[in-house]
């Protein structure tokens, strides 16, 4: 063995070098994306269940189900979709360390998301069927409700980031994982909604 084995003499230079070396690199964005792919499978499973119910039943929606109003959800869809572009502006802004712009874009996204949720609640109140009316009604409420819950989580994330942005030095100098995460999550919620809207209202 030619290598030098130092058993008692400490090698300070090496120790310090390796100390700097294992400064934890940031894998959080990668981790979040992996997690969201998995989360997407949850929706995919529910979508598959919906489509199967639909495919094997003789009449869809079951007899007696009132026609769904498309106008309000369509407007809601436009609002939610455009909010994705809005939050993307925040992503741009933070890369230039422009925290003020981030706040405004996040606030706007929050308002749009909250409008979407309010619209959803309004729609629920004016529907003439309930959760247990028939199979279509159950799938409708569970799918939209489950998505609505995700919108709510997204709004919570945005709120937390907004509050955090008022701390001194927060998100500056490239440490803006929170902003990035909130907007990646928001995009995810949007994509799910588009599929959901097409499936429930249009198809």
């Amino acid at each position: 063995m030619q290598g030098v084995i130092t058993d008692s003499t400490p090698n300070i230079a090496l120790a310090e070098a390796s100390h700097a070396h294992h400064e934890h690199p940031d894998h959080r964005v990668f981790g979040l994306i992996v997690f969201l792919c998995s989360e997407g499978m949850l929706f995919l499973g529910l979508f598959a269940a919906y489509l199967t119910f639909r495919a094997v039943s003789t009449e869809w929606p079951p007899a007696g189900t009132p026609e769904l109003e498309v106008m309000l959800p369509a407007i809601n869809t436009i609002i939610l979709l455009s909010s994705s572009f809005v939050i993307h502006q925040a992503d741009h802004a933070i890369k230039k360390d422009d925290i003020k712009a981030v706040r405004w874009w996040f606030l706007l996204t929050f308002i749009m998301g909250a409008t979407f949720l309010a619209g959803q609640v309004y729609e629920y109140q004016h529907l003439s069927f309930g959760l247990t009316s028939n199979l279509f009604a159950s799938t409708f409420y569970v799918l939209t409700g489950f998505h609505g819950f995700h919108v709510f989580v997204g709004l919570t994330l945005i709120t937390i980031m907004l509050i955090k942005s008022f701390q001194k030095g927060a998100f500056l100098g490239g440490k803006h994982y929170g902003i990035e995460a909130a907007s990646i999550y928001w995009h995810f919620v949007d994509i799910i909604w588009v599929v959901l809207f097409l499936m429930l209202y249009i198809l």
Partner: protein, 553 residues
Amino acid sequence: MTQVIVQAPSSESFEPNKSSDKGKWREYFSFSTDHKVIGIQYLVTTFFFYLIGGALASVIRAELATPDSDLVPPELYNGLFTIHGTVMIFLWIVPAVTGGFGNYLIPLMIGARDMAFPKLNAAAFWLIPPAGVLLISSFFYGPSSTGWTAYPPLSILTDQRVGQAVWIASIIILGTSSILAAVNFVVTILSMRMPGMGMFDMPLFCWSVLSASGLVLIATPVLAGAMILLGFDLLAGTAFFNPTGGGNPVVYQHLFWFYSHPAVYVMILPVFGIISEVLPVHSRKPIFGYKAIAYSSVIICVLGLVVWAHHMFTSGTPNWLRMFFMIATLLVAVPTGIKVFSWIATLWGGKLRLESPLLFAIGFISMFVVGGLSGVMLGSVPIDIHLHDTYFIVAHFHYVLFGGSVFGIYAGIYHWFPKMTGKMLNEFWGKVHFFLTFVGFNLCFLPMHLLGLQGMPRRVAQYDPQFASINVICTIGAFLLAISTFPFLFNAIFSWIRGEKATDNPWNGLTLEWTTSSPPIVENWHGDPVRRTGPYDYGMGLQDTEQPLAPTH
């Protein structure tokens, strides 16, 4: 470049646990973020649940010793096998092979300091004990009695509504834990390998955990979806799976098996990885066909996702669907066969060190092949329709899950116990453990093939008296199996406390975990880990070369 192995800490901060060696056991009851502590937490906790599941199995077999339902009431019997199956799958094998071995070994094998997300890792572990307690506590108010598959409408119309709801809740919690752990594994393996280590320089265990984690990420959320819908049916009065309300129970079966078939690969792939580690070390030969084994893990992962409906050949599936799923199922035998042949070729002509780790590994290969072959039989539609819901099925999946996964877990424990605890296990009691387990296991489950072929249905407390004598043999085997656990348990406990001290590398292994102390320090290495050889370069005269394989900076 002079190569320097630093074995002494240069400052206090390098060995934070040195001063607190005495109170170290407390760490195992804390929210520790050290992957090694978490790995051991997983292994010990899941082994505890294994003992509970085993106790339930003993009661089941005691009941089945006679054809009549005389030991426990039939309703309780239904609860016993339901909770037995659920505990063994969700609280023992899945968390033990991924969370336990994966957490302990992955960072050590790829030369990382810890997992990518240590806090998330701890959170994933701490979801398990409450979920387990929740599940087992359901015995106090009537446990779920539907079998671990919880097929509706039985699970919706059950008398044990609370027990069923608790069952659903604990499955969702355990599923969440397993998804969080899988995110950690994927990110750690893909982006935290030491500098210079490519994907094909990784030990094969890493490949198998990567494949298993992929399956967890893709399949587990679908199970969660099924559980949510089932929960709505049970508690909110919807009728997703209730035919009387216009629902469709077969949709549940699809969603359930879309997870639960891949789940068997989640339970076996990491064990394949363990075997691929144990065999080369103890036969002193390079692994045969590294790339073939690595790729076959990935192929099993992909194929495993498209075979689920072979559990539903009797659920009125159309013929074209049966044909597709039969062919896909039989195809799984190809990558699995590649692995088995590679392992046998690794053993061939090696200097076998026939101690407990290798004994269990060889036991694994032979028992798993039996289970694999009966799997091929069951994969073909005509045989499956004949044998569906008989004891042949019970025999088959115990050969893959016990003869496969549990033998592999034992091989892994005997192999890495010195690394994990710094103490050697007693070899004599290890051998006693192996032979008792091997004999007890075969005595218990081999005759079940015969029972199944003769038509004895599973999941029923009473049976036709013509099956009585074979059932007595099974029960004796099961008790032997229960007894076989004690030599291991005492061996592990006594060795851990006052066993012979283990050296850093008692088996002369070449993978990176053997290059650090036993047990490894916090953050795993003083200085940076150094790779001198590939993970399996046994007998190639490379062990003593001077040059590391790759630059460390």
